[in-house]
């Protein structure tokens, strides 16, 4: 027989480890980062024990930081767009494949996730470098070599490569739930293949596409290894900027302020987007 007091405390005991973990590893460091971002910093003496909002003001008024924020937003949005443009048709084709091929191609799509981010990114830098395979191929057919490595293009290419599964899988899941006869019904009612896709299949996978976009955007905006290795020292994104402030400038409070701004910005964009997605979901799927 279980004592009453122990039944009452059971939920707390069960939730305890998780809550403790979350508190210790997420909330506490976050709170410390917020506090740190309001500390004054002096180049000769280091972190001062004085309250200041100067770091925030610096970030939002300095064109250098604004450019990096703007670039991050642009790269993340572009990556999301390209992932949707490639991933949605890819998921559709995948859902129409027969079994041995479907498993093979699913593995090909998930493949990038199985390779370490650093190895994968170095692979891209070898391909895209001035003497890389891409430029050699271009020269072979008579074009002038182009500079891809250390440009935004290189970052977007590598990000799309690794983010694609995060788009394909939600869309594929949405397609799995779709009755294949619904498309056939549209054909029998006089719709062409294209119209059936546009009017009947697409509206039902938008939800998958929107949630895929959310994941891709969030991960792209905070990507670190890809911009660090393919963007070079000069082409920074916010994650690499925070890293530099902490480890090169040793200006921790400024790094913390940037990190908090990124977090808030990302949160705002994703929450707004999610609201839109949910409103749509309620309307179409109940």
């Amino acid at each position: 027989m279980i004592a009453r007091s122990s039944t009452l405390s059971a939920p707390w005991l069960l939730a305890g480890p998780g809550a403790l973990f979350f508190f210790g590893l997420v909330l506490l460091p976050l709170a410390l980062t917020v506090i740190l971002s309001f500390h004054a910093y002096d180049h000769s003496t280091g972190i001062q024990n004085a309250f200041t909002v100067s770091h925030y003001i610096t970030v939002v008024t300095d064109g250098y930081y604004l450019e990096i924020f703007w670039r991050t937003l642009r790269i993340a949005a572009l990556t999301t767009l390209i992932c949707a443009a490639i991933g949605v048709p890819e998921a559709y084709i995948l859902s129409r494949m027969r079994d041995p091929w479907r498993s093979v191609f699913l593995l090909v799509i998930i493949g990038p996730l199985l390779v370490s981010v650093v190895v994968r990114t170095f692979g891209w830098s070898m391909l895209l470098g001035s003497q890389g395979l891409v430029n050699q191929a271009l020269q072979l057919v008579g074009f002038a070599p182009v500079r891809i490595l250390y440009t935004e293009t290189a970052i977007v290419i590598a990000l799309v490569h690794v983010m694609l599964p995060f788009m394909v899988i939600p869309v594929w899941t949405a397609l799995q739930k779709l009755d294949p006869m619904v498309e056939a019904a549209a054909w029998t009612l006089g719709a062409s293949h294209f119209t059936a896709l546009r009017r009947v299949v697409m509206p039902q996978v938008t939800l998958g596409m929107l949630s895929g976009s959310l994941i891709v955007f969030g991960l792209s905006a905070s990507a670190f290894a890809v911009p660090a290795l393919l963007g070079g020292r000069r082409l920074k994104m916010v994650a690499t900027l925070v890293y530099d402030e902490y480890l090169h400038e040793l200006n921790w409070p400024l790094g913390a302020a940037i990190a908090i701004i990124v977090l808030v910005a990302n949160l705002c964009i994703m929450l707004a987007y999610n609201r839109m997605v949910e409103a749509r979901a309620r309307r179409t799927l109940g």
Partner: protein, 355 residues
Amino acid sequence: MAFLTLEGVSKEFGTFTAVRDVSLTIDKGEFVSLLGPSGCGKTTTLQMIAGLVEPTEGRISLDGRDITREKPNRRGLGVVFQSYALFPHMTVAQNVAFGLEMRRVPHAERTDRVREALMLVQLSSFADRYPRQLSGGQRQRVAVARALVIAPPVLLLDEPLSNLDAKLREEMQFELRRIQRKVGTTTIMVTHDQAEALSISDRVVVMEGGRMTQVDAPYRLYEQPSNAFISSFVGKTNLLAGTWRRNGTTSAADIGGVLLEASAPEIAAGTPVTLSIRPEKILVRDAGAGRLKGRVASRFFLGSQWLFTVETPIGIMTVSTPNLGVEPAAEGSPVGLDWSPDNMRIIAGNAAAAA
């Protein structure tokens, strides 16, 4: 007048032949059912007519026009799918309007025709609902309205009632027939439910292992099944295997030593035969009377009728008698079974093996 014609239509999936040499002529305004157990090729046949599956061989023509290789969106046939396949992100009215939209019907006319179609299926007040807010029967009617609103030359129904519960199925069955009579559209329905096929069709096509085995009016199909499979698949029956005996002008079937008088002049003596007699054609008499003696093994009361299983020298027979308001023979009591020899169907040859 032949409206829709299938000539020697076959479909192979790899080495598997789903439909084998189906030839069928359907008149304008007819209601035809394709009846058979699952995997008999009836749905494949329907999908070939709809254009969703391309026949390996044969020719399909509609009103004199060859449509064998025509795309489904060019055929203009109305199809009601087993899952209904409604567009979940569109309202009932939008679902129904879709086909008209594809045909670029002007907006005002579209609204009128959608309203008419919804009135026909008695769903006028549900126009702005989404399919998920409807019951199974209502969804089915939306699917029918969506298929009929485009005024198709042929309406194809793929197991339209199989997702409904028993009571609703019966209601919808007559509802379908009412709608079909009203609009006069040539209709082909696929079903595995023989009661459904018999009750609402003008003609029933029985399919077995990809082949068409009998095409007949429901009544004739029931009374004169062409083989043992059909006689047991369509309705209930007692199948008795035996040998044909002939003695001058009289003939009889020898079922394990018991001679049952029957007439079938074309059968030679000594041929193995299968007799089929429906439970409701057998009369229960007092012990000693009738053609066969037996003992009631069990008795079930079904309300409108009684169902007996009777042990006889030639095996267990199923008998059903109408409930006449008096309690019939009790379990264990001896009875005599009688029937009119005209009601005994003789299937010659190795049809017994098929049973």
